[in-house]
Amino acid sequence: MFDEMTGEGAGIRAPYSEIAAWIEASGLDTLRRHTAEAEDVFRRIGITFAVYGEGGDPERLIPFDLIPRVFAADEWRRLERGIRQRALALNAFLQDIYHRGEILRAGIIPERLVYRNAAFEPAMVGVNPPGRIYSHVVGIDIVRTGEREFQVLEDNCRTPSGVSYMLENRECMMRTCPELFRGGNIEPVDVYPEELRRTLEEVAPPACDGDPVVALLTPGPFNSAYYEHSFLADLMGIELVEPQDLFVDEGLCWMRTTQGPQRVDVLYRRIDDAFIDPLSFRPDSLLGVPGLFDAYRAGGVTLCSAPGTGIADDKEVYVYVPEMIRFYLGQEPILQNVPTWRCSDDEERAWVLDRLDELVVKEVHGSGGYGMLIGPHSSAAERSEFAEKIRRDPEGFIAQPTLELSSSPSLSETGVAGRHVDFRPYCLIGRTIRLVPGGLTRVALREGSLVVNSSQGGGVKDTWVLAD
């Protein structure tokens, strides 16, 4: 198993030399005290996330682990190339399937997988989003299994969340452990909001004839990511709007202000497709802005991300991302996929059912670490229950090998110990591609656990990219 600090066990890896010395010099008590300080900061500023259906405290803190996760400059360069490549290919794929569908005609991706997919949005066929960009923020979940082995677990093309933790974790580290930052060797991440605003301004619609007005569209304070929405809107200096603040008139989008209506050109929407516009998507919904989708299609306002983007981060479509990179960019993928078996395929399903005790099985439409079977950690009863589910709905499941995720030193009850981590960078796509050196590292705080989701006892860490 690969450890971020000690590699395969042959001493401290170079990027971690300072961290190792700091852990040693601080001692457990100091680290714990800093952790408590950090959690206090989080609670005071109200960085919480809502948990549904579990009762108890409706607003919960994500546990913060004090010990940063570190990438060396050359590691990051390689990751960066791979991330940009993937984000480009995913957007090219979206543009293609909502137009000529070349990749389907070429027989590289089965038509059924796209056209019969619930995430495919027929209303988007033939629509040309500004700059041909569909997904403006791509969050790519990456795990590491060795010194040079990075693999993509999944792509998040719609509205990936968590970037506020990237920013707040850093802020908090700089407040509680300023001594670590004295050397100036850690790449800053605080330009993210500015870069996001620029990205959004770059995709202003044709109807925009001045400085574009950008707003962040949130479902409201009861959404689990509301804190992030308000945080980002604040840092970008844009309005945080709810659907009831908006209306469409004469093909343009307006927000209700104290001085009457004001034009909105670009909406960074953090609400699902289904709730954008009751006229186009869900007539029974009371949420949404009637007419918004028509205004979008007519070039009166830009929606980021575009409706129908979800097809690109479908778990079955994921299997074909390396093919997309070859097809659209003519390049070899820099980041590898995790081998994935589709249970919809008879042969692959049989193979999966034989090896449930070794594999991780995921729901195609699941997220947040729910509805998952981790073979090696499961009981026979759980496996037979899952086998039954797979047989009943084969198209609903995929399987992957149980990866030995790398571990990273973390503060546990007994001391500093390795805990499994993953990594989500946030790639911005406007007229140019922007990538802030950093991202969100999630950590499975339970010993041996491979599930890093916050809903399943995962925590977060500051992530450093070292300068050369």
């Binding site: 109200g46 304070p221 209700r256 202000t257 104290t258 001085q259």
Partner: protein, 309 residues
């Protein structure tokens, strides 16, 4: 600015102001109940009425300190309770997080978290400390707004809400207690009257300020003057309306547009300036208070029409 933001700021300020006023009312009730003469029952009823929480109690029910305190401080189902006010203030604050400074949010959020953990037993054991903490919470919030908030339209809507609510609370307190201020019928003042007057001042944290301004005995007409016409006392109707007018005028300058609410507040301020307390007593204090409460409600409606919320 979004109309919803203006609305949330307006209501957030109102709820914080209301929470503080309710804390002062409970403080008043507590002091009155300790005085000789045992007319606590009557005091607690007027506390409940002034807090606008009459609906939380059955008519004719004997209201005692313990029930009132619990109901007015902790009862989530009583919309006038301090907890309910802080809940709504915080919900409004969350909805406009970006419009608040970090200091304001932290002040409110800390207070809300603290009150969330307060239990009935704590209130019974240490009511004064609980009430102090509630008052310092709103003081902290106001102080944070005062020293950290940009003097822009957000601040103006916050001020409008605060002044309107404070005027409303003063009026409701007077409305419940107006009879103790009616011109003396008998020649002999009993100590009971004196305490009743003082209680009005206590409910607005104003005993010392009163002495400073009037330098003498308590008299109903002076107390009424203090609470209605005095331009320097922050809870008086005249003060609140001047504050309202100033905030609304700033908005009018900013937006280059005047609305009905501007005319209404202008007229009200001028009338308060021209009035003498004797005139008000001659016309009838109760009628005056009812009219002022109606005007407050009218103003609230005009505000939401003017600014689209």
């Amino acid at each position: 600015m979004l109309s919803r933001t203006a609305e949330s700021l307006f209501w957030m300020a109102r709820y914080i102001e209301r929470a503080e006023a309710t804390a002062r009312l409970v403080e008043m009730g507590r002091r009155m109940a300790m005085l000789p003469g045992a007319y606590g029952q009557e005091e607690w009823s007027s506390v409940v009425a002034a807090a606008g929480a009459g609906a939380a109690f059955d008519p004719g029910e004997r209201i005692g300190e313990a029930e009132v305190c619990l109901s007015l401080i902790l009862d989530e189902d009583n919309p006038s309770s301090i907890r309910a006010c802080l809940d709504r203030a915080r919900n409004n604050a969350r909805a406009v997080r970006t419009a608040l400074t970090a200091e304001m949010w932290e002040g409110l959020n800390d207070g809300w978290r603290w009150l969330g953990g307060v239990e009935a037993a704590t209130i019974q054991q240490d009511l004064p400390a609980t009430l102090d903490r509630i008052r310092s919470l709103s003081a902290l919030f106001r102080g944070a707004a005062q020293t950290t908030m940009l003097r822009g339209e957000r601040y103006d809507f916050l001020s409008v809400g605060a002044f309107l609510e404070r005027a409303d609370m003063t009026l409701r307190l007077l409305d419940v207690k107006y009879f103790v201020l009616l011109p003396e019928t008998g020649l002999v003042l009993d100590s009971r009257d004196r305490y009743r007057w003082i209680s009005l001042l206590q409910a607005t944290s104003a005993v010392r300020a009163y002495h400073y301004v009037y330098r003498g005995d308590f008299s109903p007409s002076r107390i009424a003057h203090f609470m209605i016409l005095n331009r320097d006392f922050p809870c008086s109707l005249a003060f609140c309306y001047s504050g309202l007018r100033a905030a609304l005028n700033r908005l009018a300058d900013r937006y280059g547009e005047r609305h009905d609410c501007h005319a209404t507040v202008e007229k009200a301020v001028r009338q308060l300036q021209d009035r003498e307390m004797d005139d008000i007593f001659d016309e009838g204090l109760h009628g005056f208070l009812l009219e002022a409460l109606r005007l407050n409600a009218q103003l609230s409606g005009e505000l939401s029409r003017a600014y689209h919320f």
